[in-house]
């Protein structure tokens, strides 16, 4: 993130995945549980990404479960992390149980990611409520927007989602098949210059890092006018 030292922490203990998504799975020696329990130093658990400078991954443990760590552990551990890194991103697991408690224990800010679907927005509302009750004002990212479906009225638009959740936006990400390819290969999507989702994520990073007013681009169908008219009249696809 713009030359800052960034650590990404996979908090999904027992269901580790950020390592494969980032293509760093074969470099894991120690994990977050080792680091919290003092079995290794942070520098040993944090894997340096060789493609993106100053990016580090602290992987989850795959053999434990969420209860192996407590919110108090994380508060203590976060103090050490703050000295080492400019930004620490905790990847919170699904659910509102211990994994969530551990992830938000030391959080100063929070991003809630949802998709424009009923089940996702409902869960987001619940999580937003839990974050508020901890004194954290979260921001929202709407992921996997399909502009064609929004235009047709078959998908909630980002305005609908924002209205229902009454929360500030920090980014809109279009549905992008490149993401699947990117996770297949383990090459970060932000490194793929022609990817719409990658561009959206780069912009979110800028907004978080001192440019909060960077305008948010709304994913659109980008269709020439006459093609649009033809489409409305039922010609072509």
């Amino acid at each position: 993130m713009e030359g800052k030292r960034v650590a990404v922490v996979d908090m999904d203990i027992g269901l580790r995945n950020l390592d494969v998504v980032m293509g760093l799975e074969n470099r894991i020696v120690f994990n977050i549980v080792d680091a919290v329990k003092g079995k290794c130093k942070i520098g040993q658990a944090a894997i340096k990404d060789r493609r993106i400078e100053n990016l580090f991954l602290i992987p989850a443990s795959q053999s434990d479960n969420k209860n192996v760590l407590s919110p108090e552990d994380m508060l203590r551990f976060s103090k050490v992390l703050r000295d080492e890194f400019d930004y620490v991103l905790m990847d919170c697991p699904a659910g509102i149980e211990r994994g969530f408690e551990n992830s938000v224990a030391a959080a100063q800010e929070a991003l809630v990611i949802c998709t424009p679907e009923v089940s996702s927005v409902r869960d987001a509302d619940r999580v937003i409520g839990l974050l508020y009750s901890r004194g954290i004002t979260p921001k929202l990212v709407v992921n996997r927007i399909v502009p064609e479906m929004v235009a047709r009225g078959d998908m909630l638009s980002h305005e609908d989602v924002v209205e229902v959740l009454s929360i500030d936006l920090v980014g809109l990400v279009e549905m992008d098949n490149q993401v699947v390819i990117s996770t297949n290969t383990g090459l970060p999507i932000v490194m793929q210059k022609d990817s719409k989702a990658g561009e959206a994520f780069r912009q979110i990073a800028l907004r978080l890092n001192g440019q909060p007013d960077l305008p948010i681009q709304v994913p659109s169908t980008h269709k020439p006018f006459w093609k649009k008219v033809g489409h409305k009249l039922g010609f072509g696809r």
Partner: protein, 90 residues
Amino acid sequence: MLNGLLKKILGKGGSKQIAKKRLQFALIYDKLEVSDTTLQSLQRDIVEVISRYFVIDQEEIKLEFQRDRDSSALVVNTPILSARRTITPA
């Protein structure tokens, strides 16, 4: 076919309105943890109480929720036709 064409021209239809409505109601119930029947009997009671003092249009009464960041409000909206001269005691 003609129907589909009309739909396309008017841009009507679409399942998102249904999604939004369902979502808004689901969130209200999630927050309050009450069922639809509870809300209906609440509305009935409110109508009864207001009717003791005012003549209201019972068809037009609206019970809705307004959500703010950290609070939700129950808003009852009703047109009052006139005040009752003699207030019937409870």
